[in-house]
Amino acid sequence: MTTDTAPKIKIIDCPNCGAAIPLRALGQSVMTVCASCGTRLDTSRPEIRVIKAFRLQQQQLHIPLGKRGTLRGRLFEVIGALRRGEQDGMWEEYLLFNPYIGFRWLVYDTGHWSFGRMVRDPSSITTAAGLMHYGGRYFRLYHRGTPQIRWVVGEFYWRVAVGQEVDATDYVCPPMILSCEKSAGEIIWTLLEYLEPVEVETAFQITSPERQWLAANQPNPAVRKWEAIKPVMWAALAALVVAQIGTAIRARTTTMAVGTYDLSHAQGEAQAYGPFTFSASGSMNELLATAPLDNSWVELQCSLVNTVTGKSYDFTNSFSYYHGIDSDGGWSEGSTSDISTLANVPAGTYKLIVAAGGQDKTGHPPSTPVSLSLRHDVVPWQNFWIGVLVILTYPGYLLYRRYGYERERWSEANPT
């Protein structure tokens, strides 16, 4: 509810050059800089006083004084603007005002925009492990400098003058910057959030120059994508784990002793073992072959043959083990066992036919027999791990991109 006593914006004449100066935040601002001549006027008292007459160098702003725009759903008017500079660059700070909201900052730097508000609870800012903690975020030191005000125009809520310097420190947690400005007897903290240039272009009907470099608080696009796919990734992994647990619960893993194959006597001969009863249908099965090899190799040609249908599953199981001593000391390679996997075997009765060969260093078959055992209806893991790998590929790529982007961001940092 409002009454009808709508006040008009007060307009004063510049005592120095006579230009009309609108007071857009009367009663809230304390000074204004005449846009025509740059004279600084005290607006905190009913009688406007000249603080300092000046000759203003006219400069173009990206958003003109008096322009209104809606940012983050709220209407603001540009009432003041200043340029600050350091050795390595210059940026613009626009003071925005809405009498129902108060003041906000819009900072422009080489194509990038940030929207800021003074921190009103600086006692909530704490240091933790070299980082600044505020509002649930951890900010890392990005830049320290002593920027100087180079140019100023319009209305402000404190006394601004060209040449003023502050000790400024920026802490970054994209898309936010926590900025600390220290001057004589005063510490002011400001929290700034990155705005996409199109937001400012739409709000104030301007054309923002192309972005250059990477801004300190520019959001990492990989982070956004990562956040978007994270629930999908977790859901897919959970589904895979649930399916695997189901498979594991159903599997009735049974071990069946098969026997031995004596290479020194039966080299190359086909020997039959079994019959074995495979109770589970479409099961996964393993043949484990073991022999205490000593600088020799073994190869087993195996067939699992269904005693009713005659259908045969052929596979090879081979292993070798060599060891010795050289100039680097003892060495060994290979293994004294091998596991062959047979997937999707129907239920039924099977015989195992094995024909094995092998050689040691002397060219003779290994003297020790090969022990064989079958494991029926084991839990398959390979597909599970392939699934995990597939699910993690894109997130992994995003994390890699995220890391590269952050490295570029922090390579620009100057935390001295």
Partner: protein, 214 residues
């Protein structure tokens, strides 16, 4: 509610509260209540024009309690000025809603026993420094600002008198959004404590229309 007569100009002066002071809207005399009569303490200036959305009899809410703005003092220091609105709560309690640099702060006067070490005006005027810490009501506050303030103008009913001389005003930041202000004249010390409030949080009614703003 009481209607008294301005001893300076004879105009009626309405009181909605039990506030001890008021400014006559007719002749700008600062008045103090003496039982059923008023005594004039001198003239104060009118509040200068500003673009505040608040006005006399704007209603609002603070921590679920309703208040009405019944008076205002405009204060200034060397480099700026701000408004302090006297807020009358429905339970007759009085508070101050400070409006400065686009921020709102609700403050209540506290007994000096809130100081862990109650200061004398002389000591305060001599010793307060930006960055110093004070324990108030058992909590730690840091001095952020020390300045000499004067009154630029006043209107309505006021919980505290308008000092016609300059005061020392000390602003302190407490935990979170808490703030405190100590005001010291040459003879008196007052303590106000409270916190920042958001414009939306106050759910104001009877606001002033500001052309082109919403």
């Amino acid at each position: 509610m009481a209607t008294l007569t301005c001893p300076a100009c004879g105009a009626p002066v309405e009181f909605k509260s039990a506030a001890p002071y008021a400014v006559c809207s007719h002749c700008q005399s600062l008045l103090i209540r003496r039982d059923v009569t008023l005594e004039s303490l001198g003239r104060v200036a009118e509040v200068p024009e500003d673009l505040s959305p608040l006005q006399l009899y704007t209603g609002g809410t603070f921590e679920k309690r309703h208040f009405t703005l019944i008076g205002r003092i405009r204060k200034a220091w060397d480099e700026g000025s701000w408004s302090e609105w006297c807020a009358l709560f429905d339970d007759q309690r009085l508070g101050w809603l400070a409006e400065a640099q686009g921020d709102l702060v609700m403050l209540f006067e506290q007994p000096l026993s809130a100081f862990s070490d109650p200061p004398t005006p002389a000591r305060l005027n001599a010793a307060a420094r930006v960055g110093d810490e004070r324990r108030l009501d058992g909590r730690r506050f840091t001095i952020t600002d020390v300045k000499k303030v004067i009154c630029l103008g006043a209107e309505g009913e006021l919980a505290a008198g308008v000092s016609l001389q300059a005061l020392t005003s000390i602003d302190l930041h407490g935990p979170g959004l808490e703030l405190a202000t100590i005001e010291a004249s040459s003879s008196e010390v007052s303590l106000f404590m409270g916190r920042y409030v958001e414009f939306e949080e106050c759910r104001f009614t009877n606001l002033r229309t500001l052309s082109g703003w919403k």
